[in-house]
């Protein structure tokens, strides 16, 4: 316990504390140390910055579309690949592969696939008379693209968890329902989903904790563009801190994000618990 507590203190609690400290200060760019106490100024600057709000709404849109999509696809695919046949092991193992492709590679590869001139995606949809789509250059498509790439990278993660969860469902309940003449649609809605609710909720929380940190896919695929159409909040703060060297404002912004994330996570955890108790 002690070594972990010490390490976590040094690497987690101390930096967070230091962030709080510099968020109330002004950073001297000659020495890179905080030198003047400015109170809530940095927070006010952050809250008055439209670009900060824009990046928050980009993040919000990404989360609202990507998370449900990934949860749905993940569980649906898990249901499909859990059909017992001799290739099942191979199919399931294959789903591990996209999951361990580094997000930055995923972003880069998809950027290549979706290239407006030479990308294979536009060629393929062109053969059936569609497109060409400006996947990365049009603000709306770029957002869709980021969601698509993220979904490609993370759906297998949900699928694998879901596929393990589906195997733990009690068989006899389904057999009993089948004898009673229930069709699979009724079984899905009346038995499978209610039994899976705690698992779905827990997976959602884990995925949420990962998704709020999303940074590398947007950086590699669109670099936040076009304009700032796909600049998620983490990317925005990163640019503010390490390109514009506005460390104090970035500290204030990242603390705002930290608090919002914690509050929402708390709400989700509470919600998960309530769902678990109801079933």
């Amino acid at each position: 316990m002690t070594p972990a507590a010490l390490l976590l203190f040094a690497t987690l609690a101390f930096p967070v504390g230091y962030t709080v400290y510099i968020s109330f200060a002004e950073i001297n760019l000659g020495t890179f140390t905080p030198d003047e106490w400015v109170g809530w100024d940095n927070y006010l600057t952050a809250l008055e910055d439209d670009r900060f709000w824009d990046s928050l709404s980009v993040t919000g849109i990404y989360l609202v579309f990507a998370l449900p999509l990934q949860m749905f696809l993940g569980f649906a695919i898990a249901f499909l690949i859990n059909a017992s046949w001799k290739g099942r092991g191979i199919v399931r193992a294959a789903f591990i592969i996209p999951m361990v492709v580094a997000p930055v590679i995923a972003g880069g590869i998809w950027r290549m696939l979706l290239d407006p001139l030479w990308g294979i995606a536009n060629y393929v949809i062109g053969t059936v008379g569609l497109g060409p789509i400006d996947w990365l250059g049009d603000p709306y498509w770029a957002m869709t693209t980021v969601i698509l790439i993220d979904t490609w990278r993370w759906t297998p993660f949900v699928t694998l968890i879901a596929s393990a969860a589906l195997l733990t469902l009690p068989r006899d309940v389904f057999e009993a329902a089948e004898i009673d003449g229930a069709n699979w649609w009724t079984m899905l809605w009346r038995i499978t989903l209610p039994l899976l609710v705690p698992m779905i909720a827990a997976t959602f929380v884990v995925r949420w904790l990962g998704a709020v940190k999303m940074f590398d896919i947007a950086l590699a695929a669109t670099h936040g563009g076009p304009g700032r159409a796909t600049t998620v909040v983490n990317l925005f703060i990163y640019e503010e801190a390490f390109r514009s060297l506005k460390f104090a404002e970035s500290a204030a912004m990242s603390l705002i994000i930290l608090v919002v994330t914690m509050v929402l996570t708390g709400i989700f955890l509470r919600g998960t618990k309530m769902l678990e108790e109801r079933h």
């Binding site: 962030t19 361990v100 930055v104 290549m112």
Partner: protein, 287 residues
């Protein structure tokens, strides 16, 4: 009687159709998910003139030129070694510290153990950017920028909570009689942990270690912020290639470096796939 037989007959036929549907659409989904990776592999062995063509070429004379170029005249091997040192170091430290802490949380009757559990989970929600800024400033002040150890410590921030969480669930599932028996034989708690618990948890520990190494292997933000040359890692190289707007898209380099980065991870992940999936599922649920 005959009516029942017919009904169960249709039922069975429907079930068989559903099963076929599941199998085939599962295979299709799987192929769709693997296509981008297949295209990466194909592009990585193309010559430059075969990459930029319309329609995209499926048949071409394969070459390993890009691989050879990147492995010989470039600093890529050095970056790979860095990545290996950092990911390995962070993985080992996290598994030792995290497993011990996870064990303590699972067994030692502590007041507030639930609170600690919730705190660990919450710590996974701390945005890395909130840590990257102070780490950069402090590392800069202490002259620790661009050093392996700095990146290793930075990775511990997200790996230790992750390992603690997984291993706590794992240790909780072990019967307590194991340690009790050891104590009767005169083992201390430490002795019991190292002689009894660690050996039987080895598969779980190993897969958690591998998964931690994978997470560190592909990390980008801290690597971008805390290193620039000497300790820089492969994801930084890739983000450089992908974001290179001056020289345009170097797809050969992107796919070759990407492939070299992905292959070792895929092999490791497939080796421990059974544990990996179980670990993922436990990581999501066991509190």
């Amino acid at each position: 009687m005959s009516a029942t037989t017919t009904r169960s007959g249709t039922h069975r036929r429907r079930a068989a159709i559903l099963r076929q549907f599941r199998i085939w659409s599962g295979v299709v989904a799987c192929v769709l998910f693997l296509l981008p990776i297949a295209w990466m592999l194909i592009t990585s062995i193309k010559q430059q003139r075969d990459i930029f063509t319309t329609p995209p070429k499926i048949i071409f004379a394969p070459t390993l030129d890009t691989y050879v170029a990147y492995l010989t005249n470039n600093d890529l091997p050095e970056r790979m070694l860095n990545t290996l040192i950092v990911a390995g170091g962070a993985g080992v430290i996290s598994i030792v510290a995290g497993a011990m802490a996870g064990y303590a949380l699972a067994r030692v009757k502590l007041r507030g153990a639930t609170t600690i559990g919730v705190l660990i989970l919450l710590s996974r929600g701390v945005p890395p950017i909130a840590l990257a800024v102070p780490m950069f400033l402090v590392a800069r002040a202490m002259g620790l920028l661009d050093k392996h150890i700095t990146l290793i410590l930075a990775y511990c921030t997200f790996l230790i909570p992750y390992v603690m969480w997984l291993m706590r669930g794992f240790f909780k599932a072990l019967p307590e009689e194991l340690e009790e028996a050891a104590k009767i034989d005169g083992c201390t708690r430490f002795g019991a942990f190292f002689r009894i618990i660690v050996p039987i948890s080895l598969p779980g520990l190993l897969s958690t270690l591998i998964f931690s190494i994978i997470l560190a292997w592909e990390e980008l933000l801290f690597a971008l912020v805390l290193t620039n040359r000497a300790a820089s890692t492969v994801p930084v190289v890739i983000s450089g290639i992908a974001g290179d707007t001056v020289n345009g898209a170097n797809w050969g380099a992107l796919t070759a470096v990407g492939t070299m980065t992905v292959i070792p991870v895929v092999i490791f992940a497939l080796l421990v796939q059974k544990w990996l999936i179980q670990g993922l599922a436990d990581g999501a649920t066991k509190g």
